[in-house]
């Protein structure tokens, strides 16, 4: 960051090293414009009157001449004898950031000219941007400038760009050919290559509006939302797991992804888009996806590991809130507000108070799933009820094969206890309460039961243990402060370790269910972990008792008549052992039927809970000294950044919802100087490969300055004027001649502006991981364009406490959907395409890096996915082009690269097909630079 300050200093004082004219005026200018800022920013911070490191004070000439502990620092007129210059030249000072040659030369010149001071003392530079920072000013409405080459101006964008280019002696590269333009526009807006039909259609359209029609067609395509939605997910650090050591999955986070895709496709106005993501839950008539939009707030990492220390738990909460503040600040304001968590922002005018004012807005947001009504709720409920009834009937039929428990028996008649699931059948009995008493566990530690089900004798048996049926659980003890193991989990209808009860007594404990009325029951089902991850803590000795009156318990089943627990077979089948063959067959058929119904039921349930956060009324928010969660400072009221107008401050008692609504309105206010600028710059960034501000989420002093400030303001103005709609903005940009240039280089451009900040050509770009995978599937003809819903998963199913990610051995049609629908755990990359600089969603990634690695080459050459797709690709070409090798080569090139081969290429391709087969050609095409790059 220090380098950066240096740059800033140089930018502010462009005369550095250039003041040439002699005389006192020149000296003054030299001091005022160059030396003072240098001393101020580089030296006086330590060497001033109060601090005087090494005894040296450079803030006044007199003291500088006197020098410090090692002698006089300045000898006017003789730089060679001046200690200051020697230290600087030796790069000893300033200690962490030596001066450049030019800066040293400047000091030398100044000393040789007499070490003139003008205004004393020199104060240490405050290197922080002020309220006058460019991005905090309201965008102006600049008039597009006039340019010499008027014929090159398609719209205002060109006027702004050409004016700068002409001033530098540059101009646009020649226009790109139509095929290049088609491929560029198609990838830009849809993330897919143009199909042969689209190519043919575009080339055949000779009307002057062919290109405009193309843009409109692409913007109308549902593929557009999938492409630009993916960009948005990068910006907001969306992922489908908690992160950190457990990295547990969020199977219900996907509705946010679908919301984003729809928002882009519908071209939602930007303030509405902001509003829904911050407060979609509060909006009237918000449908399922709109309510899911608050997935934005809780899209980041969340440490779920229980921490018993006060400071540890507080730190986790503060980290959660910091993630939300960071994401909001970076996404909508392009500011790094998070830098003000521990102290005032070092570079931007954001105070620590501002940070906590924003934190107060989110103080009621909790990481959690929220139940949202799916669109077809009524049908789902009916279907689920029906499925549940069917399953219960099956269970009773199945369990009829199970022998009755006999509390009097002392020899093994029944199956051994299973960690997964056990059935206790007994003669019908009336009960008001049921108690499960654990006497021993398989490994001697506290017992765990994930669910206790108690069934009535009715024709359609009901589980009357459920809390939803009015039953109340209690227990001898409970595992301390743990989110997974609670008494309420014993009858919450949810299975698995994460929804279980554990006692606090080694090897024992009891849990009890009290019914609101008397029920006639004949069956109890229980398990340690129905998801079969865990086998420890299994109750292996127990008794089950019932009572109508708490003074008179009656034992109805015990473990005494079960065979001994066998740790080698912890997941015993639901079908009892030792059945005659026909009975076994019947039972197994029932079991298979049950599994099918259960899978169907899971689907009916799954979409009601969405990882979109829950909201509670918060307590007071305090400023935290040094960001330390246990060092509370003053109480802070919710509000916006004090330096960003319009002013936005709320009462400390403002209700939670109001806070988020107010923030959303403030961000979407046309007078907010940042929101529109930041968004148009993001769009620009994805069209040209770099933004007008090249740091898309940092419009502060540490970020980049706009290459074209007027253009940025003009675009922001146009964006707002068009109702904050993105599609007109894309159209504007893509219809400009700037966008339609070719990538042709010239020496002049390369020597003046190799980075192409001025846009004298179109820089070729490598496709992103998603576009590469989608293109491979598109060429092979296997791309499944089904939209929305639960994503596909590359990983084997896993419900371990610490999620283990094992890639599936083979991928099939289920996994051939677009990559945006790939289940995306945090920090866990797609094993083939992750290395193409895919964000791992641990942090926001508003700008992806582009790198070239050996692993990319290996994955594209050798991964099973690519090899398989190359075979599909070949089969497709064979089908579409017939058996002629030249025809095949032409078709394959067209599908992969959007063009026909040159004579040289065709000859080589035909030879390759003849010797090595068509799939070999396809594999090579998938690896070609041209396949991965867009001109």
């Amino acid at each position: 960051m220090k380098n950066h300050l240096l740059l800033a200093a140089l930018a502010l004082f462009p005369g550095v090293g250039l003041a040439q004219s002699p005389g006192a005026d020149a000296e003054q200018t030299l001091f005022r414009d160059s030396v003072r800022p240098l001393l101020s920013s580089k030296c006086v911070g330590c060497h001033n009157a109060t601090k005087a490191k090494g005894g040296l004070d450079l803030s006044r000439r007199q003291n500088a001449l006197k020098g410090g502990d090692t002698g006089p620092s300045l000898v006017p007129g003789d730089s060679a004898k001046s200690l200051l210059l020697r230290r600087v030249a030796d790069h000893e000072m300033p200690p962490s950031n030596p001066l450049t040659e030019e800066q040293s030369a400047l000091l030398k010149k100044w000393i040789d000219a007499g070490a003139f001071y003008e205004k004393e003392p020199i104060l240490p530079a405050i290197n922080r941007a002020g309220a006058d920072w460019w991005s905090l000013q309201k965008p102006r409405s600049p008039v597009p400038p006039t340019v010499r080459e008027k014929s090159k101006v398609q719209n205002a964008i060109d006027a702004f760009l050409l004016a700068r280019l002409e001033a530098t002696g540059l101009t646009y590269a020649p226009a790109a050919d139509r095929l290049t333009l088609l491929r560029r526009a198609t990838f830009d807006l849809t993330g897919l290559p143009p199909t042969p039909e689209e190519i043919e259609q575009f080339l055949a359209d000779t009307s002057p509006h062919a290109y405009e029609k193309l843009i409109d067609r692409l913007l109308d395509s549902p593929r557009y939302g999938e492409r630009w939605g993916r960009h948005w997910l990068d910006i907001v650090r969306f992922a489908e797991s908690h992160g950190y050591e457990t990295n547990q999955l969020r199977p219900n986070a996907w509705p946010y992804r679908d919301y984003v895709i729809r928002a882009f496709n519908q071209d939602l106005s930007y303030p509405q888009f902001i509003l829904e993501q911050l407060a979609g839950d509060t909006l009237k008539d918000a449908d399922f996806l709109t309510q899911s939009a608050t997935g934005f707030l809780v899209g980041g990492a969340h440490d779920v590991v229980g921490n018993q220390t006060v400071e540890g738990a507080l730190q986790q909460r503060m980290d959660d809130l910091d993630d939300i503040v960071t994401a909001t600040g970076a996404t909508f304001l392009g500011l790094t507000i998070n830098c003000a968590r521990c102290h005032d922002h070092k570079f931007d005018p954001i105070s620590q108070k501002d940070y906590y004012a924003l934190q107060a807005i989110f103080a009621g947001v909790q990481h959690s799933e929220r139940t949202i009504q799916p669109p077809d709720l009524a049908q789902r409920r009916a279907k689920a009820a029906d499925l549940r009834a069917q399953i219960q009937r099956l269970d009773r039929d199945l369990e009829a094969y199970e022998p009755l428990a006999d509390p009097a028996a002392h020899k093994p008649m029944r199956a051994a206890v299973s960690s997964k699931r056990n059935v206790e059948r007994f003669a019908p009995v009336e009960a008001r309460m049921v108690r499960f008493v654990v006497l021993a566990t398989n490994n001697g530690i506290e017992p765990c039961i994930d669910e206790l089900e108690i069934y009535t004798t009715e024709a359609t048996p009901r589980n009357v243990a459920l809390a939803s049926a009015g039953a109340k659980p209690s227990a001898s003890s409970v595992y301390p402060s743990n989110v997974y193991h609670k008494v309420e989990h014993i009858n919450d209808g949810r299975h698995g370790n994460s929804f279980s009860w554990i006692s606090r007594e080694a090897g024992k404990g009891w849990v009890q269910i009290d019914f609101p009325t008397v029920h006639k029951i004949d069956r109890i089902v229980w398990g340690r972990d129905r998801e079969q991850r865990f086998q420890d803590r299994t109750p292996v000795r127990y008794r089950i008792e019932v009572a109508l009156d708490p003074a008179k318990w009656q034992v109805i089943a015990t473990s005494e008549d079960r065979r001994p627990f066998d740790p080698g077979r912890p997941t015993a089948s639901i079908v009892p052992e030792g059945l005659p063959a026909t009975a076994k067959k019947q039972a197994e058929a029932l079991l298979r039927q049950r599994e099918r119904l259960q899978a169907e039921l899971t689907q009916m349930m799954g979409t009601q809970a969405v990882y979109a956060g829950t909201f509670t009324e918060p307590g007071p928010t305090h400023l935290l000294l040094r960001g330390d969660p246990v060092r509370k400072g003053e109480e802070i009221a919710p509000g916006g950044l004090s330096v960003v107008s319009p002013k936005f401050q709320m009462d400390r008692k403002t209700p939670e919802k109001e806070r988020r609504l107010a923030l959303a309105r403030w961000l979407g206010n046309p007078d907010n100087p940042l929101a529109a600028r930041v968004m148009v710059n993001r769009v620009w960034h994805y069209h040209f490969g770099q933004g007008i501000v090249s740091t898309p989420s940092d419009f502060g002093a540490n970020g980049d300055r706009p290459a074209h400030p007027e253009l940025l303001d003009w675009l922001a103005g146009a964006f707002v004027k068009n109702g904050w709609k993105l599609k007109p903005l894309h159209r504007l940009i893509m219809l400009s001649n700037a966008y339609r240039q070719s990538g042709q280089k010239n020496d002049k451009g390369m020597s003046i502006d190799a980075q192409n900040r001025l846009l004298w050509r179109m820089t070729p770009r490598r496709l992103e991981a998603e576009a590469i995978r989608d293109s491979i599937l598109s060429a092979s003809g296997k791309l499944d364009l089904r939209m929305g819903g639960e994503g596909y998963n590359l990983w084997e199913k896993n419900t371990n406490y610490v999620t283990v990610f094992k890639p599936k051995a083979t991928l099939g049609p289920e996994e051939f959907r677009r990559m945006i629908y790939q289940f995306k755990p945090r920090s866990q990359q797609d094993p083939v395409f992750g290395v193409f600089d895919c964000p791992d969603a641990a942090l926001a990634r508003p700008r992806r890096t582009v790198s070239t690695t050996v692993l990319q080459a290996l994955n594209l050459l050798n991964s099973q996915l690519v090899i398989t797709q190359a075979e599909f690709f070949a089969a497709r070409v064979q089908k579409e082009a017939g058996s002629d090798h030249a025809e095949q080569a032409r078709r394959a090139f067209l599908l992969a690269l959007g063009r026909t081969p040159s004579a040289t290429e065709e000859k080589a391709a035909v030879a390759l097909i003849a010797k090595q087969g068509l799939a070999t050609l396809c594999r090579a095409l998938y690896n070609a630079n041209e396949f991965l790059y867009v001109d």
Partner: protein
């Protein structure tokens, strides 16, 4: 032959995509000796000179996950023997990560003086204890967090949050690789699985992907390294030849494009790696004595597996791989964690984990020494934090303790048989020369010739460093 990278003249990728503006300057200082930037155009693993003359050329980082108890291994506390079973003085109700603590508990293992220096090390790790004379102990490390995931992130990346580049990524970003036929940064997971925080331990974070750790161990090769079964060697060659032609034709239309040239080179590199990586993983040529030294003949398959990983690490370091992280310990799974997380029964847990680490790692260190590799290889032994001097209430295990724990270094540039920093008489808190993980990282970079304040990369508002805004080189341990 002049490496391809040096013939490139296009600065677009370097200044445009890789590092805009400021960060280009940051790297520029690393490249200063080349006089100009023209030679280096894309983020590559081409070897680069550090800021100043280094002591170490490469690093072996042994990371024992799950939090190794310093009190049962390296940090001898006679006071615990005296006060075993008594409440810790000066503490009323001590609540740590998992809850309340019971009384002070002595280590179940005996501590004995070792070697010339007489350093007390426990009997848990007898083979490693024999090497105490070579080690440079840091007894006063502290962590920012008491939770494994953030703790592993902190030790691996300098940040207790996810998403920041790992130390190996920073090092290869700064120095490149001295061997272009192998990955420059290798992460070797334990035979039992990956550590709890998984890929966050070797992620490139926001650095270009070329600097991420490549994952493989002795039993699981680099994924997609091998030619697929369906493809014959002849077909593979023909594919590459055709690909070369395609790319050359394409390059004619994009003259002097460094990214495209780099990608062509990456395929050449891939071909070389397909030969050298299996060679480096092939342990069959190692002598029986060497195999035994590393414990490959042990009956415990996990010990033998970790031994194979240790041997692989040596073979990588020998071939100048810049940074090798060797993990000991995997993710936790209910009871019987697969790592050093000894909450319930430290004795039986560590009796399982100790031997797995001890003989193979000691074998590796001895082997490195006898081959002269310790001269320019820096060895780091770390864990994410330490454990409590008390047992957790109702258990015979120790809870997490980030307030004081031990790491050690060995080899290039550090004093041997040296002890720095100390915890209090119970081993609860670091009290003497208290060190942060940032200090540890700053020192590692220093030994590699890198100034931790100058090694920066712009990301979301800051010139990011491995050491955040902290860290001091621990000068007193430098040889």
């Amino acid at each position: 032959m002049i490496p391809l990278w040096h013939r490139l003249t296009d600065r677009r990728a370097f200044l445009g995509d890789f590092a805009t503006g400021v960060s280009a300057l940051a790297l520029a200082s690393l490249l200063a000796e080349q006089g100009k930037l023209a030679g280096e155009t894309v983020p590559t693993t081409t070897p680069r000179r550090p800021h100043f003359e280094p002591k170490a050329k490469r690093v072996l980082h042994v990371f024992c996950t799950g939090a190794v108890s310093h009190l049962d291994t390296w940090d001898y506390k006679p006071e615990l023997l005296k006060r075993d079973g008594q409440p810790m003085p000066g503490v009323d109700k001590l609540v740590t990560f998992q809850g309340e603590n019971g009384n002070l508990a002595k280590s179940p293992w005996r501590f004995k003086p070792r070697g010339q220096t007489g350093k007390y090390v426990s009997d848990l790790l007898p083979h490693l204890a024999d090497l105490a004379d070579e080690m440079c102990f840091l007894h006063s490390l502290t962590s920012k967090t008491n939770t494994h995931g953030p703790g592993e992130c902190h030790m691996s990346t300098g940040f207790a949050l996810e998403g920041y580049p790992s130390i190996g990524s920073w090092v290869t970003f700064a120095l490149g690789s001295a061997n272009q036929n192998l990955p420059s940064y290798v992460a070797i997971p334990d035979p039992r699985g990956v550590p709890q925080q998984g890929p966050s331990n070797w992620t490139n974070g926001f650095l270009p992907a070329v600097f991420q750790g490549t994952v493989f161990n002795a039993d699981n090769p680099i994924s997609n390294l091998a030619r697929p079964k369906q493809v014959s060697p002849q077909t593979d060659v023909a594919t590459r030849d055709f690909l070369k032609l395609l790319n050359e034709e394409h390059l004619k239309r994009h003259p002097e494009d460094s990214e495209l040239t780099a990608r062509i080179a990456a395929y050449e590199l891939a071909a070389r790696m397909q030969l050298s990586a299996p060679e480096v993983s092939d342990l069959s040529k190692e002598s029986a004595a060497t195999r035994s030294l590393y414990g490959l003949d042990d009956r415990n398959p996990i010990l033998a597996g970790f031994g194979r990983n240790c041997l692989l690490a040596r073979r990588l370091l020998e071939r100048d791989v810049r940074f090798v992280t060797l993990f000991n310990g995997a993710f936790a799974m209910g009871e019987g964690a697969l790592n050093w997380d000894g909450h319930r029964r430290i004795k039986s847990d560590y009796d399982r984990h100790g031997p797995i680490l001890d003989r193979p790692l000691a074998g590796l260190l001895k082997d490195l020494k006898s081959r002269g590799l310790l001269k320019d290889t820096l060895v780091l032994w770390t864990t994410e934090f330490g454990r409590m001097p008390t047992f957790q209430k109702g258990t015979q295990g120790r809870d997490h303790n980030p307030m004081g724990f031990t790491a050690w270094m060995m080899g290039a540039g550090v004093k041997s048989g040296f002890t720095f920093g100390a915890t209090d008489p119970f081993g609860h808190k670091a009290v003497d020369n208290v060190l942060s993980v940032h200090d540890f990282h700053a020192t590692v970079l220093h030994l590699l010739g890198l100034d931790h304040e100058k090694l920066t990369f712009y990301h979301n508002g800051s010139q990011r460093r491995l050491t955040d805004v902290h860290g001091h080189v621990i000068k007193k341990i430098l040889a």
